[in-house]
């Protein structure tokens, strides 16, 4: 065995232990200044020891590698006093700091690290809610969304050709908001299909989405006055396997030859497998997804594509109740605010940089940096 003797290994200094702020309790944070011996290649890291009295006994609660000066002990019991010490560890040697404490952990009622998130959530929600209220009084404008205008024609075309309609949510789960947006598009499609008496096929990846789709279609058929046309056997579960789902839907496409395919929801790599097969049977295809990576493939293979936000706008667009449109206006106000913020900061930062460069005054630039840092998202 090789023994390395290190002369004068220095302990970590300035050890502090305190209740971890903004947490749910059960945690103490220990902080220290790095040991000057870290420069030695034999130096490995720090062991954090905890005891219930100043005299010990102490036992190890954690270990961090060198270069780190903080550890969170997440195994404390709230209301109990603890004492800590930090041991610098090197190959064949170790050295302990002095003992600190007592420290007691507790839970907080507000997570201060999330203040910026709270402010933005509040502001955006406020705009949306404000315009939902305002929309009750005045009529608001909404721009054309071609993909949604095309729904009626597409359903009509399927009917003329005597072919069914295929609707897919992709791999989205019911716990994805975009699936719920897709449900309202499905509701519209189903209503039209019922009016025209056209068959609607909905193969599913998630059984929960399947049940919600069944409810939606049944409801839409009832509202259109054709509950007799509703067939639960057309809204089925396939498999919860990404490509198994694609294989199954491809099979349905080539055998049922739908006149229209709707791809609305969350899609991954299977997007192009589905859309190319849909194209091969000559279907009109209307896609919509928030998955940015899949949008290029839908753009290439489909006739109409709802890009990101347009999908969320669909429910407001299709059922132009004033409040729904109001929420879109609220979104737009939030966008304007964000754009203004970006322009404002670009100007501020630029003036700061120039002042710093020409006059040597860094006050404005420093203020700018702390302004940007405020946007750091904490845990």
């Amino acid at each position: 065995m090789l023994w390395v003797i290190i002369i004068g290994l220095l302990p970590p200094g300035g050890v502090k232990a305190f209740d971890t702020p903004s947490d749910g309790g059960g945690s103490v944070t220990i902080r220290w200044e790095l040991s000057p011996s870290e420069t030695l290649s034999q130096f490995l890291g720090y062991r954090i020891l905890r005891g219930e009295s100043e005299a010990g006994p102490f036992e190890e609660v954690g270990y961090v590698i060198k270069g780190r000066g903080e550890y969170q002990d997440r195994s404390t019991e709230d209301g109990k006093s603890y004492y800590y010490l930090v041991v610098g560890v090197a190959v064949g040697d170790s050295v302990a700091s002095s003992v600190v404490g007592p420290v007691i952990s507790s839970a907080q009622w507000f997570n201060a690290n999330r203040l910026n998130v709270l402010i933005f959530t509040f502001l955006i929600s406020l705009f949306v809610l404000l315009y939902i209220r305002r929309a009750k009084r005045e009529r608001l404008f909404i721009r054309k969304i071609p993909g949604l205008d095309a729904i009626e024609d597409a359903v009509g075309r399927s009917t003329e050709m005597g072919r069914p309609i295929l609707y897919s949510f992709g791999l989205g789960l019911l716990s994805d908001v975009v699936t719920i947006a897709s449900l309202s598009i499905l509701s519209r499609v189903a209503k039209k299909a019922a009016e025209y008496g056209t068959r609607l096929i909905v193969p599913n990846y998630d059984p929960l989405v399947m049940t919600a789709a069944q409810e939606t279609v049944k409801q839409a058929f009832t509202e259109a006055g054709r509950p007799d046309l509703y067939n639960e056997g057309d809204i089925t579960f396939l498999t919860q396997d990404q490509f198994g789902y694609a294989a199954g839907v491809d099979g349905i496409i080539v055998r049922e030859k739908p006149g229209t395919c709707f791809w609305q929801g969350y899609f991954f790599a299977e997007s192009l497998i589905l859309a190319e097969t849909g194209h091969s049977v000559g279907a009109i295809q209307i896609a919509g997804t928030i998955a940015v990576t899949q949008l290029p493939f839908f753009i290439a293979a489909c006739d109409y594509v709802l890009i990101g936000e347009e999908m969320y706008a669909a429910s407001a667009y299709l059922r132009p109740e004033p409040q729904m449109v109001g929420s879109l206006k609220g979104e737009d106000i939030a966008k304007a605010l964000i754009m203004a913020l970006i322009i404002f900061s670009a100007l501020w930062g630029t003036v700061g940089v120039l002042l710093n460069q020409w006059m040597g005054s860094s006050t404005l630039l420093d203020a700018f940096h702390s302004f940007v840092n405020w946007f750091t998202v904490g845990e």
């Binding site: 903004s22 749910g24 309790g25 839970a107 009622w109 507000f110 997570n111 999330r114 998130v117 709270l118 959530t121 929600s125 949306v128 809610l129 939902i132 716990s175 908001v177 719920i180 947006a181 449900l183 309202s184 509701s187 998630d206 059984p207 929960l208 399947m210 049940t211 919600a212 409810e215 409801q219 839409a220 056997g233 089925t236 579960f237 919860q240 396997d241 990404q242 198994g244 694609a246 294989a247 055998r255 299977e270 497998i273 190319e276 928030i290 940015v292 493939f297 753009i299 290439a300 293979a301 990101g308 936000e309 969320y312 429910s315 409040q323 729904m324 929420s327 609220g330 979104e331 939030a334």
Partner: protein
């Protein structure tokens, strides 16, 4: 009961989760994880409905001797074989992941090649989609075509051999215009998700209820 209770459940669940996000103190601190576990349990039960739907669909096909009913027989056989082997492996080897378990053999010999081959079909589909869609019809379509072509060539050794500038321009397109567009699209998308969530919590989005 049929409408008001679900709307109330949605409202309460949504509001609680938003509040819990900012309050670390028990019992709200771990509410997000707790609800996600609940969701998994509900999904576990709902799987039964899914399987029921799948099996029923194919049983009906077989019963009425509809075209291709023979394939439905194959589907049901593979379904029940997998299910039985799965539980057998679970109980005999105490885990379906055990490398000795027949379930793993089934995975490598049946599911995996099917998955990989379906996935590999994309190599063909991406070519046919590119051929059809990348036509210089108008300005937007031409830009789509040109940037796809540059990035495509910039990624492989042959692109560099053709012109050493290709990888540089390709990186520039990815890092600037592509990134800016993506950021803009996502900004709108997420604002849309927030408005959508608010409408759900307020009970304005309820196509599956009313």
């Amino acid at each position: 009961m049929k409408r008001e209770v679900p709307l109330a459940i949605t409202f309460i669940t949504g509001v609680l989760l938003v509040v819990a996000f900012f309050v670390p103190h028990p019992p709200l601190g771990d509410l997000q994880q707790r609800f996600q576990i609940w969701y998994s349990i509900v999904a576990g039960f709902t799987f039964l409905l899914g399987l029921d739907s799948l099996v029923k669909h194919h049983l009906k096909k077989i019963q009425h001797r509809r075209s291709g009913w023979g394939f439905s027989v194959a589907l049901l056989i593979s379904f029940f074989t997998t299910l039985i082997l799965g539980f057998y492996s679970w109980f005999v080897f105490s885990s379906p992941y055990d490398l000795r378990a027949p379930f793993q053999w089934l995975y490598t010999s049946v599911i995996l090649p099917l998955q990989a081959t379906m996935f590999a079909l994309l190599a063909f589909f991406i070519a046919s989609a590119a051929y059809r869609a990348f036509r210089a019809r108008n300005l937007a379509a031409s830009l789509l075509l040109v940037s796809a072509g540059i990035v495509m060539l910039g990624r492989v050794p042959i692109g560099k051999a053709i012109w050493s500038g290709l990888p540089v321009i390709s990186d520039w397109i990815m890092n600037y215009p592509q990134m800016a567009a993506k950021r803009g699209i996502l900004m709108g998308t997420y604002l849309g998700a927030i408005a959508m969530s608010l409408r759900i919590i307020l009970g304005m989005e309820r196509t599956y209820l009313t």
